[in-house]
Symmetry: C2
Subunit: 164 residues, 2 copies
DNA sequence: GACAAATAATTGCCGAGGCAGTAGTCTTAT
DNA sequence: ATAAGACTACTGCCTCGGCAATTATTTGTC
């Protein structure tokens, strides 16, 4: 998946800012996941896509893009790679010939348990020492920040019409 | 800065996972910051670099890379752009001729207050409704996760020898 | 039914980052 | 003093993602 920048939105004073810490924490999670998935020849994004499909959260590329806030063009190419690896199968829909259904191929289904295990391993490692209440707090804080980010001065988000 | 993927490290069950939420929250922060900085022709990363230099947290490219966990090659190019814009000045060190000192140019210093204002605006917007204790909790949670990520099975992080 | 608007997937183009290799310089050990 | 190693900055190469067209198809309107 290639590591990414860690730009810092910082409060004027005070130690490390929330933005900076969040970038670091996410990068660590991502690096850990990529490392765990490397043996399978997959990266975090490919795993996430496979997982969404396997869990029935999405059936088409457009679904995936909406849910993951991802660019449709890039998604096409991710799917290409997964298809090349034989983990995914595309099937044109007959009723609406614009859409292409995505199915996790047998090979993909076979791998998934191990991939999931890798995912939980990384997450649990990072959350070591957290009790359930703390994890829940963290979750709510993050959810609140996301919600706050939607309203403000900026009408962002599009990625080819998730609207806004 | 270009938005980035939002890969999801997810717990097997339960709503949105911490990893997923963190990616979303960070992306929102980043998008907001990029939007606020666009009028100045800068992105979040360039701002972060300028800020680190102005605050005296770093004096050279290597410093910046170590502190931001960033690739040295990419950093060189970011500095190139900032120099082109006239916001930054490079000055070869006389004592150790390998290093190049980085100075925020006058034009950069002039812009900084407004850039900082943009940064706080975005952060405060995302933290609307948080009280001081909650922000502090969030900070500690993130710090703990980062710390947890350092030890484990994976000996990551290098970016040209921040070691490990 | 015909035309405009919306939607799905794909592609070309470009910018940006990571990795690895290089040149120049300093440090340390012998 | 010299050789080996470390370190700084920089450069090429490659991959990947975002944006903006493009094509094919469906939906909605008059």
């Amino acid at each position: 998946m290639k590591a990414e920048p860690l730009a810092a939105a910082q409060v004027p004073e005070g130690g490390l800012s929330v933005g900076y810490l969040m970038s670091r924490a996410r990068a660590s999670l991502l690096a850990g996941l990529d490392a765990e998935l490397a043996p399978f020849g997959l990266n975090a994004m490919q795993y996430a896509v496979l997982k969404h499909l396997a869990d029935g959260n999405a059936r088409t590329a457009a679904d995936l893009c909406r849910q993951m806030y991802y660019d449709t063009g890039s998604m096409t190419r991710i799917l290409d790679r997964l298809e090349e690896k034989g983990l995914l199968r595309r099937e044109r829909c007959r009723d609406d010939r614009r859409v292409v259904f995505l199915h996790v191929a047998a090979a993909g289904r076979a791998q998934l348990p191990r991939l999931r295990a890798a995912g939980t391993r990384v997450l649990e490692n990072h959350l070591a020492g957290f009790n359930a209440a703390e994890v829940e707090h963290l979750r709510t804080y993050l959810a609140r920040m996301i919600e706050n980010g939607k309203l403000p001065g900026g009408a962002h988000h599009d990625t080819r019409t998730g609207k806004s």
